[in-house]
Subunit: 343 residues, 2 copies
């Protein structure tokens, strides 16, 4: 398989990205070719510091980088030679099977949507983020691709999240929850009330509304929401986790007795930290585009980039897109004949 | 001061509510009268188990209770003798200064808004929840009163949150952040982009967009968002905190060495748990109604109810509503003359 890495995007630029690429090539022999897209000079310099001359690497030069202050759609039109656009071009012309970017999320979404188009029956792609609970790993979709979503977009997210949970995560009959602010179907916004009815009337395994309280206490396998809410949830989860560990650390160094206790219990802290560490999950899949695109964390470490490349490889192996097309078609044949929702 | 407690609402009904009331009367001598509104028989039975015959208590009988499956506005129209409606009536006719309810949030918001009306210049009330960060306590507004908000509602939340932060929490010049999904003003929904401009052009101390990442790492004193997003944030924070402590507990009992460590470090765990315990904060103030209404957690313990009554007493003492009216008037005189935003 062939993967294109945007080697310029992300808070830390080429150093972390190239280091992650080198780690991935070492660990994943199934990668036949890895395109590193960006400034050739900078990429070559990083490869040199890693003493890496893996023949599977091919540098694709590009002269522009999308900045965080750039508009998403504008970036595609105005920066035609950006690293993310050039990486998507490789997928478009069949040279690569997937793209990985840790840069401007909106730009990656816009470039893939404009250049690769969406899958049949899908109006808008959605980011599927993986979040660990105590008993499962759930898909949060949409985690930030589409912040002004309509009801049929959310229905499509439910279908795509369900496919991903089944075919990639291995849950046999993933349960779907609609993020709202009350368990009852009378609670929520006009949007969530409409989506509630659509999901209830579908053949999907729909539990009903879920609230923030339920995310970890009564987890479902797929949580559906618009991209604004999903992005807020994802970042809030990370922020709360970081804050609690930071507070705990401050408290634990306040006395010698507590420090001794922390030393004895360190295995427990390490286990939890590993479990909640986003670096282990690597990247989120942008579902619904006609190609495979992995969105990595802007602050990705080399380990996170390595794992984002693993997620790309898994998505290629599990043929997620053909399964989504099939599932949307099945929805059309069953539910949609009664109540047309996807156009 | 006189406070009316909805003695029926909440997941655990009269037992927790009456127990909290008894605790509050013991600790807060400034409460001259506490109305317990609900089923007289049940309330009297609970008072009996507490051996409480405080003369400041007055039971106000009501025959109905709003259920979680009831619609918010419908509950006010159809259940005229509900405990929450009767409690609001006491404020309306001047018998009480504030109401506290742990029941159906939407019903409490609807009853106060319909019966007491909003303050001059305020279109919709917003729930101001208090959340602790490492360096401050911030106001999250709206935490769930109004889930289909318009831009001018969010501007009004910013003004009210700022007043509350200054006059009740004591921050001299509270900084305001607009919850969005990117630090740049080009990120977010149509709604947040419009509110961004209104806040930037106001005389408020506006930092700009904040993301989930910033909530605890770079906290502002006031976080502004619509009620759907705010409710999701509030409940997600609680859920993540609970989950981490639960996982930690499971990990800590896995070996004798870890258990010994946990024993030595227990002071640190207790300090954090106290800091993140919602019971200590008690209740959230519904800002913007012409009266004082405190929304307590549905699962309130007696301690949480006691603290919700404390929050009511503080709101009465600090004269929050006159300050809000004054601040809205000042906004009209300065910013709004240039660009009318509040109608």
């Amino acid at each position: 398989m062939k993967i294109a890495l945007d080697a310029m995007g992300g808070d830390f630029g080429p150093p972390n990205l190239v280091a992650g690429a080198v780690m991935a090539l070492r660990d994943y022999p199934q990668i036949d070719k890895l395109y590193l897209v960006g400034d050739t000079g900078k990429i070559e310099a990083e490869l040199k510091t890693k003493a890496c001359s893996d023949p599977r690497i091919e540098i694709v030069h590009s002269t522009q980088v999308v900045e965080m202050s750039d508009g998403a759609v504008e970036s595609v039109r105005r920066k035609k030679d950006s690293s993310v656009s050039r990486a998507v071009d490789l997928v478009k012309r069949g040279a690569a099977d997937a793209i990985v970017s840790a840069g401007h999320t909106g730009a990656a979404v816009a470039a893939t949507t404009i250049k690769l188009r969406t899958l049949p029956g899908i109006d808008r792609p959605g980011i599927a983020a993986l979040i660990p609970s105590e008993t499962n790993v759930f898909v949060l979709i949409d985690a930030g691709a589409n912040s002004d979503a309509r009801a049929d977009h959310l229905l499509q997210y439910a279908i795509m999240g369900s496919v991903y949970s089944r075919h990639v995560l291995g849950y046999e009959n993933p349960e779907i929850g609609l993020m709202s602010i009350g368990g009852e179907d009378v609670k929520g916004t006009d949007l969530t009330k409409e989506v509630f009815k659509m999901l209830r009337d579908s053949s999907l395994n729909f539990r009903g509304n879920v609230e923030g309280h339920d995310l970890f206490a009564h987890p479902v396998e797929v949580v559906v929401c618009d991209g604004f809410v999903g992005n807020v949830i994802l970042k809030t989860c990370e922020s709360v986790g970081d804050a609690i560990f930071k507070w705990l650390k401050h408290e634990l160094v306040k006395s010698k007795v507590r420090m001794a206790g922390a030393y004895l219990a360190q295995g427990a802290f390490r286990a939890i930290k590993k479990r909640v560490n986003y670096e282990e999950y690597g990247g989120s899949v942008l579902l619904g585009v006609n190609g495979i695109c992995i969105i990595a964390h802007g602050a990705s470490t080399p380990l996170a980039i390595k794992n984002a490349l693993r997620v790309a490889a898994e998505s290629i192996e599990h043929e997620v897109n053909p399964h989504i097309i099939e599932e949307v078609r099945r929805y059309h044949e069953t539910t949609a004949q009664l109540e047309p929702a996807i156009r």
